[in-house]
């Protein structure tokens, strides 16, 4: 049991450790100004990001991201259910939604800066404007694709309104909604960083761009490392959430596959 676990751990860690060691050794004697030794980057990482910058930059970034992302989830699911359950409405808005989804959200940043200024409201709006589309479109898709037998069963039993929504539509559409939410999260992170690069006093994006502009290269790379870990941590957290919400679905699918 323990031996098996250790074996698995060794297999998982083998390649990352080899890569890191290689990077460490190859960069150790680097005199290239732009690509400093990994040891220097790690040292800066330790000094900057495990210290007060974590609270002055990472936390504000995280708060903005969460504010925008949760708002996008809420709006996306509500609008998605509305659009998904009315065929006429869906026909009318589908091409419009296709167009909005195709607009690079980053392109809206300068325009939003003009009308909303440089504050958090602008950044949160950008995150919402980018992250909402995959959530909305997947919710529409999920609501549209509910099982017709279940739908008619609900109708026969006169299950309507909130009960129908809560016990039938939401669970039936949830696998699609979660896929949309996962895509929305990675878009949200990108927009958080970019909007901070454009205009912010604090946050990961503004810190990285500040270091780059002032040619503090090891500091800059340590920021990039922090951003990578930030993305990784959020994706792990999301996976946990996914397993919690969709555990029943994966279990059911595995059973079906086995048959």
């Amino acid at each position: 049991m323990i031996a098996a676990f250790l074996r698995k751990l060794a297999v998982e860690l083998a390649l990352p450790l080899i890569l890191l060691t290689l990077l460490y050794l190859l960069s150790a004697s680097s005199t290239n100004f732009y690509f400093p030794p990994l040891s220097a980057v790690l040292e800066k990482f330790n000094a900057l990001w495990l210290g007060k910058r974590f609270f002055s930059d990472v936390i504000p970034s995280f708060q903005r991201l969460m504010a925008g992302y949760l708002l996008a989830c809420l709006l996306g699911v509500v609008l998605g259910i509305l659009i998904g359950s009315h065929a006429a409405l869906r026909r009318a808005v589908e091409p419009v939604l296709e167009f909005f989804r195709a607009i690079p959200p980053v392109a809206m940043i300068p325009l939003l800066i003009m009308s909303m200024g440089f504050g958090d409201a602008m950044k949160i709006t950008i995150i919402v404007a980018g992250a909402i589309w995959p959530i909305l479109l997947n919710t529409v898709e999920g609501v549209k694709g509910v099982d017709s037998v279940l739908d008619e069963t609900c109708r026969t039993y006169q299950i309507k309104g909130m009960a129908r929504l809560w016990h039938f539509i939401l669970p039936a559409a949830s696998p699609h909604i979660v896929v949309g939410m996962r895509l929305g999260l990675s878009i949200g992170i990108v927009l958080m960083v970019i909007s901070e690069m454009f205009a912010a006093l604090d946050g990961l994006g503004s810190a990285i761009i500040y270091f780059q502009r002032s040619y503090e290269i090891p500091q800059m790379w340590s920021g990039v490392l922090m951003l990578g870990l930030f993305g990784f941590a959020l994706s792990m957290a999301f996976r946990l959430f996914e397993r919690l919400v969709l555990g029943w679905y994966y279990g059911m699918r595995n059973l079906e596959r086995r048959d």
Binding site: A14, A92, V106, P134, P175, V193, G223, V224
Partner: protein, 280 residues
């Protein structure tokens, strides 16, 4: 799940007759046209009646007028061409790299178990984290955008490849083994047909993302292209021009998406997922 953004198979009812299909298509088209018209009317009216400040949000007609003058300039087409070049280069490199890496990881025994943790760590790293790095390497040349696109699009393609290789029918695999297919023969005749729809989904998602990143790179890094057009227009207070460029970026995205769908339907005519989809 494997399909990612677009989840296919919306449970359409079994093949409708040709006339019913036509009627359906017309209704859908009319509905869509109505939606677009309403949006256009809103965009025109809201700034005119003072619902939104027209300095920040000019009416549609003003933006379209600006666009009409823009399309006569060489600068505009230069911007469009360089955005398209960055987009295409990044997408092609990422697709080729994704296919090669996917075949290697998927077909070499044990490769998947050993690379799993590395892939799972690298994939969620936002591509924008590379921006400072590519600025140092390439400055504001177009290669900066190509690197960003390649990084982001590579994971899309690779993941779909791995999903696809997982999906290979075990009977087909065993049959090919019984018939002593060479490794290349196996890839060509068994793996490839299974992979293709997955690969297509990956490339279609990557194509949309690549355009967003191309524009982003131009805006943040300042390389030639539509993104730069937006930033310059905004900086010089030419708001309608900025909106015209945003409109063009959106239209390019719609065009890419539509082209990918048409191509997919055409190239995968033989595949059940397209055959069963019933109608456009």
């Amino acid at each position: 799940m494997a399909a990612g953004h677009e989840v296919v198979g919306a449970g359409r009812s079994a093949a409708p007759t040709a006339t019913a299909l036509d009627a359906q298509a017309i209704v859908r088209w009319l509905g869509g046209a109505a939606g677009v018209l309403v949006l256009a009317a809103l965009w025109e009216a809201a700034p005119r009646v003072g619902l939104i400040n027209r300095n920040f949000f000019p009416p549609l007609s003003v933006v379209l007028q600006q666009l009409a003058t823009l399309v006569t300039t060489a600068e505009f087409w230069g911007f469009v061409a360089s955005t398209a070049r960055t987009w295409a280069l990044g997408l092609v490199i990422a697709t080729v790299a994704g296919i090669v890496a996917g075949l290697f990881i998927g077909l070499v025994p044990e490769a998947r178990t050993y690379t799993h943790s590395t892939i799972e760590f690298l994939r969620p790293i936002p591509s924008v984290a590379l921006i400072p790095g590519v600025i140092l390497l390439f400055g504001s040349r177009y290669q900066s955008g190509v690197v960003l696109i390649t990084y982001a699009a590579f994971w899309q393609v690779l993941l779909q490849m791995l999903y696809g290789l997982n999906d290979i029918d075990s009977v087909a695999r065993d049959t090919s083994r019984s018939f002593r297919f060479s490794r290349l023969g196996f890839i060509r005749h068994v793996a490839w047909p299974t992979l293709l729809p997955f690969l297509f989904t990956g490339v279609r998602l990557a194509a949309a993302m690549a355009l967003v990143l191309a524009v982003t790179a131009e805006m943040v890094i300042g390389s030639q292209g539509i993104g730069r057009g937006i930033v310059v227009a905004q900086a010089s207070n030419a708001t309608p021009e900025a909106y015209a460029y945003v409109l063009v970026a959106g239209l390019m995205g719609v065009a890419i998406n539509m082209a990918a769908r048409v191509l997919e339907r055409h190239l995968l005519k033989w595949h059940p997922s397209v055959r069963n989809a019933g109608g456009p």
